[in-house]
């Protein structure tokens, strides 16, 4: 009996406290939750229909956009710069998407006799093979900060792949600014690196851009 009295007293107190808590304005707080699901896809670009490439030769004027190969060489007065860009439109990536990874692959058909470090730099203004026929057309372009570098090695017919994710991500988000990349050799000497172009008869020698993206 006594225990029952004690239990009733405690229960009464608990009910009172519950009633008090219910007077608080909890319902006036806001709460919203939601989610967003991303879809993953990939796209590979290669060949003349989606690739524009050429090289600018400081020592020899001329439109090289139809050549089977492109060249990269250092040295004041004899520099050769390669340019390559891809038309991303066939990938149908919405501007709300983004690149998870983007890998540019170039085939070195004729390697220099000594290992060279080449620099990949995004181009920020428009160009064509004709506009780069004179080297001044290349020097007058605007460029971003170097994206990456890669080494050539000394073996012929080797594909070099390197990430350009940050640039492709930006291209996806701003489809009007797709001017591709410049490949240069900032070292000294006269070593020339020859790279397969989109016009190359051998498909494996052509530049390729592989994109894994989300939307």
């Amino acid at each position: 009996m006594r225990r029952l009295v004690v239990l009733l007293a405690i229960s009464g107190a608990a009910c009172t406290s519950s009633a008090f808590a219910a007077t608080l304005g909890i319902a006036s707080w806001h709460l919203w939750t939601g989610s967003q699901t991303l879809t993953k896809s990939s796209c590979t670009l290669t060949g003349t229909s989606v690739t524009t490439d050429t090289y600018a030769d400081e020592a020899h004027a001329g439109d090289n956009s139809s050549a089977n190969t492109m060249k990269v060489a250092p040295g004041a007065g004899s520099q050769q710069w390669t340019f390559v860009r891809f038309d991303l439109s066939s990938c149908n990536i919405p501007s709300t998407g983004g690149a998870d990874t983007a890998t540019l692959s170039l085939r070195i058909t004729n390697a220099p006799s000594t290992d060279r470090t080449l620099t990949v730099t995004p181009v920020l203004s428009t160009w064509t093979g004709a506009s780069l026929a004179n080297f001044s057309g290349a020097t007058s372009l605007t460029y971003g900060s170097a994206t990456t570098t890669f080494t050539t090695g000394t073996s012929n017919n080797v594909t070099k792949s390197f990430p350009v994710t940050i640039d492709v991500d930006a291209l996806i988000k701003s489809s009007t600014a797709n001017y591709g990349w410049r490949i240069t050799d900032g070292g000294s000497g006269t070593a020339t690196t020859t790279i397969g172009s989109a016009n190359n008869a051998t498909a494996a020698n052509r530049p390729q851009l592989q994109i894994s993206y989300e939307n």
Partner: protein, 129 residues
């Protein structure tokens, strides 16, 4: 003994009331008026969905996530975002206060490095008064 038991019961009751009172007083919304326990918790006006876009570095890691189109009515509330990977696992999270006027918010620190390839979605929560 009977008197002792009653006193003990009364003491416990007073203690329980005091504890409840103290707990309620410690809540941050102390002087707000009553809403019943069954009332629905609503979102800030105009908030029905959110979407995010992210930026990456050249290694493919997420550097920034931007959440757009947050209604002005959510200003001052806390937006939390969780980056979700496979199996609905959290890859990282961040939160911030919705600025006056709403609009967009950007987050650049998630407590961990998040590879964009692993990122499969986002979870959002907006909480506030």
């Amino acid at each position: 003994m009977t008197v002792l038991a009653k006193l003990l019961g009364l003491g416990l009751a007073v203690a329980a009331i005091s504890a409840a009172w103290a707990a309620a007083a410690s809540l941050p919304f102390g002087s707000n008026k009553l809403s019943s326990g069954s009332a629905a918790v609503t979102a800030c006006t105009g908030l029905s969905s959110l979407s995010a876009t992210r930026s990456v570095n050249n290694a493919g890691n997420v550097t920034q996530v931007s959440v757009g189109t947050i209604p002005a009515a959510c200003a001052g509330e806390t937006l939390s975002i969780t980056l979700v990977g496979s199996g609905n696992a959290s890859l990282g999270s961040s939160s911030g206060t919705v600025p006056a006027g709403g609009g967009a918010m950007s987050f650049s620190s998630f407590g961990a490095t998040v590879a964009a390839t692993s990122l499969l979605g986002y979870r959002f929560a907006v909480v506030g008064a």
